[in-house]
């Protein structure tokens, strides 16, 4: 009898546990009752010590055909003293339960970034639904809310546009996609400073202006605009274009891009970066620390506006030298910026720590403000031009024809 009662109790408990009894298992919810957040915008609110949280979710209304299926963005902003408070307020306005498990992008407004990152990231790091995999980005000059509203179009919602933007980041190598875990890792160490990819809003489609005059919405494009640089967790400035590529060279994050050089006659040549490998080599000699940054890269000729034969050994060597000079300058400018601001965004401290873990003790205290600013850094670039593509000689050069 006792056995039977025990079995009955076990089965009952299992039924409650597995299939759910809503009052006991509050977390249980049907999938259509969830509002999946793909992008969140975090801003400083107008009220003192308050924050704004903007969520955007894709709502798909299924139609009979693919054309009839409608995609729509659901954008809503809430203010709270903390992000969690703002988050809970969404439940008062949203018809569904906000679910953070699919978060892909965290956009932080400029004012919030200036106030400090920790305040805005803690909730997302701590919450059980979120992961450390969303991409983090700073939006330059505007609030996250403004950026989300302006980037969003009828055809593509913010997360789709950001996705394609970051998928193509290696085309120019002026930025990259950085996930939350990487940023926490940078924030955790005294000898590194945080840098986060930033975007800028650009308005460059005249047709949209016409549309606006006719009452349509003025649309903006998001553009990768380098990096936002932080000191002690607060935004201090931006690295744009060549400066940010300089940073990417040092951190071995250049995957592609264009280098434009000139031939002897001033004709421009576009060189496409094919591959690059960078080593940061710290050396300690007689208690003196120095760093060598060695870059090895290769490129292809993809565009030439002149008619000269630039494929001769001498001409190619000359182009390689010019290419090396461009890269050196980009790197040196990034080093100069980092040293001036006392922010080791170049991973120099990390390289020293890894090569000289024992000697590092002498440098680690106040590394960014003292030793890093003084350490001599030499840049050495070795480059190679591999090939051109389908056409070798330039148009009209006649050099390919035997006379």
């Amino acid at each position: 009898m006792m056995k039977k009662i025990m079995r009955l109790i076990t089965v009952c408990l299992m039924i409650i546990h597995i299939s759910g009894c809503e009052k006991i298992i509050r977390e249980r919810a049907e999938i259509e009752e969830h509002l999946f957040i793909r992008t969140v915008g975090l801003d400083k609110a107008d009220h003192e010590d308050c924050v704004n949280m903007t969520i955007i979710s894709k709502i798909v209304e299924a139609g009979a055909t693919a054309e009839a299926t409608r995609k729509q963005a659901y954008i809503v902003t809430e203010e709270g003293r903390t992000l969690f408070e703002a988050n809970r307020k969404f439940n008062a306005v949203a018809s569904k339960d906000v679910f953070w498990g699919h978060l892909q992008y965290i956009i932080i407004g400029e004012a919030a970034a200036k106030e400090g990152l920790s305040k805005y990231l803690d909730f997302i790091i701590r919450d059980h639904e979120t992961r450390l995999t969303p991409n983090v980005l700073i939006v330059r000059g505007v609030t996250a809310r403004e950026a989300i509203e302006k980037i969003n179009t009828k055809e593509f919602i913010v997360s789709d546009r950001l996705k394609s933007l970051f998928e193509n980041h290696d085309e120019l190598s002026i930025s990259e996609d950085m996930v939350l875990a990487e940023i926490i890792h940078l924030m955790d160490h005294d000898y590194t400073s945080v840098y986060i990819p930033c975007i800028q809003l650009v308005h460059r489609t005249p047709w949209e202006e016409i549309m606006e005059e006719l009452g349509g919405k003025k649309e903006y494009d998001p553009m990768l605009a380098g990096y936002a640089v932080f000191k002690e967790g607060k935004l201090i400035g931006y690295l744009t274009e060549h400066l940010s590529r300089g940073l990417n060279w040092v951190n071995d994050k250049v995957e592609g891009g264009v280098i434009v050089v000139e031939d002897d006659r001033g004709n421009q040549i576009s060189l496409e970066i094919i591959d690059a490998k960078v080593k940061k080599i710290p050396k300690i000699k007689e208690d003196n620390l120095s760093i060598i940054i060695e870059v090895e890269m290769s490129s292809n000729i993809v565009d030439y506006e002149g008619k000269e034969d630039i494929f001769k050994e001498e001409a190619l060597k000359d182009l390689e030298n010019k290419q090396e000079k461009v890269i050196s300058e980009e790197i040196e400018k990034a080093i100069e910026y980092a040293k001036e601001n006392g922010v080791d965004i170049l991973g120099i401290g990390d390289a020293v720590f890894h090569k000289y873990p024992v000697e590092w003790n002498a440098y680690k205290d106040n590394w960014q403000e003292d030793a890093f600013k003084e350490v001599p850094i030499r840049v050495s670039v070795k480059s190679k031009i591999n090939r051109s593509y389908v056409i070798k000689e330039a148009i009209g050069s006649q050099s390919g024809v035997k006379k």
Partner: protein, 363 residues
């Protein structure tokens, strides 16, 4: 696979029970504890703990060599005498009961922390303890046989997760290693040793384990396997998220698995991990309950443990609820008390027992 004697389990089954029992605390504690103590060098800690495990195997062999059919309580009586033996046994009962309450609470707290934040822990505890009470009536042989299947599942899940985590591992996060890491690694190894000593606890019901004379041979194989698994676990956790993040998360391996995005297709694999740790929790809670009841049986010279199961499970339920106010107290209890106490009860005391036994020529 089934041991010839229907009341006994084979040595292999006992060692498998040990592996499964270690899995759940290892997933929670190993990477976190070693990252706190040894930072990026935490992955070296299991190597420092390994000799202790080998010594422990030798200890078990030495202690039980002369008394192959004796249980731990019999052995205490033989070596220390009846009174001292009973006192020591009582201390062991109290300590392992506290440990069991800790595991019951941790099991529920982990589910609430990671997956079901809005649910009362009592629900999970009741479900688990009812299942444990049910299975304990079937005896240790059934649990051991069930565990033979469970261990295959756990091994498969662990290596699957490790393979998916491999692309996330960065050597940079596991280096540099220098002589300055020796002391932190030794400190960190205490956390691993504190888990591995459970092998001694398994042998508390040694009268139910056959082929104890082969414990060195078979135990070494299991130890190497455990060493590799623990190494992989810590390497994949610290190597993917870095020591600074791992040292702050109470669910270190879980946090690392949440990062998995293999081939852009396989992600959100933590649900498999949650399943595996619940199964492992079930085994550790069942085995520890069985160990305690066996000791109680020895203490009061009882013939069966069955009548004690329900009342003891009820007691554990209440104790688990009141053992700490919150998870923070539980974690402090775990690292400040359970780690050193485990090492004492699982390694230092057996060593003392062997010494006394040798002096008194009882072992």
């Amino acid at each position: 696979m089934l041991a010839p004697d229907r009341e006994k389990i084979s040595l292999k089954q006992a060692l498998f029970l040990f592996l499964t029992a270690v899995y759940t605390p290892a997933v929670r504690l190993a990477a976190n504890y070693t990252a706190i103590e040894a930072n990026h060098a935490g992955w070296l800690c299991p190597l420092a703990s390994f000799p202790v495990l080998v010594i422990l195997l030798w200890l078990i062999k030495s202690i039980y060599m002369k008394h192959k059919t004796a249980s731990f309580s019999d052995l205490l009586n033989i070596i220390l005498g009846k009174l001292a033996g009973k006192i020591v046994l009582m201390i062991y009962i109290v300590y392992i009961t506290l440990l069991l309450a800790l595991y019951v609470r941790y099991y529920a707290e982990r589910l609430v922390t990671s997956t079901y934040p809005g649910i009362k822990i009592q629900l999970f505890m009741v479900v688990m303890l009812v299942m444990v009470a049910y299975i304990l009536r079937k005896g240790i042989v059934i649990i051991a046989r069930m565990n033979e299947i469970i261990i295959i599942f756990l091994t498969f899940v662990f290596f699957l997760l490790f393979i998916f985590l491999m692309p996330e591992i960065e050597i940079n996060k596991l280096t540099p290693i220098s002589y300055m890491d020796i002391l932190p690694v030794m400190k960190g190894s205490l956390g691993i040793t504190a888990l591995w000593i459970y092998i001694f606890f398994i042998f508390i019901f040694s009268d139910r384990i056959m082929e104890k004379d082969k414990v060195m041979d078979k135990g070494l194989g299991i130890s190497v396997f455990l060493l590799l698994v623990t190494l992989f676990l810590i390497i994949s956790s610290i190597g993917s998220l870095g020591a600074s993040i791992i040292s702050r998360t109470p669910l270190s391996f879980y946090a690392a698995v949440r990062q998995v995005k293999a081939f852009g297709i396989f992600e959100r694999l933590e649900s498999i991990l949650v399943t595996s740790w619940v199964i492992s929790d079930f085994i550790i809670i069942s085995v520890f309950t069985f160990i305690i009841l066996e000791m109680v049986k020895g203490l009061f010279n009882l013939s069966h443990i069955k009548p004690l199961i329900n009342i003891f499970i009820l007691f554990i339920y209440v104790l688990s609820l009141y053992i700490s106010k919150n998870i923070f107290e539980l974690q402090t209890y775990s690292s400040a008390f359970a780690v050193p106490a485990n090492i004492f009860f699982g390694f230092i005391f057996p060593l003392i027992l062997l010494l006394i036994g040798k002096i008194r020529r009882k072992v």
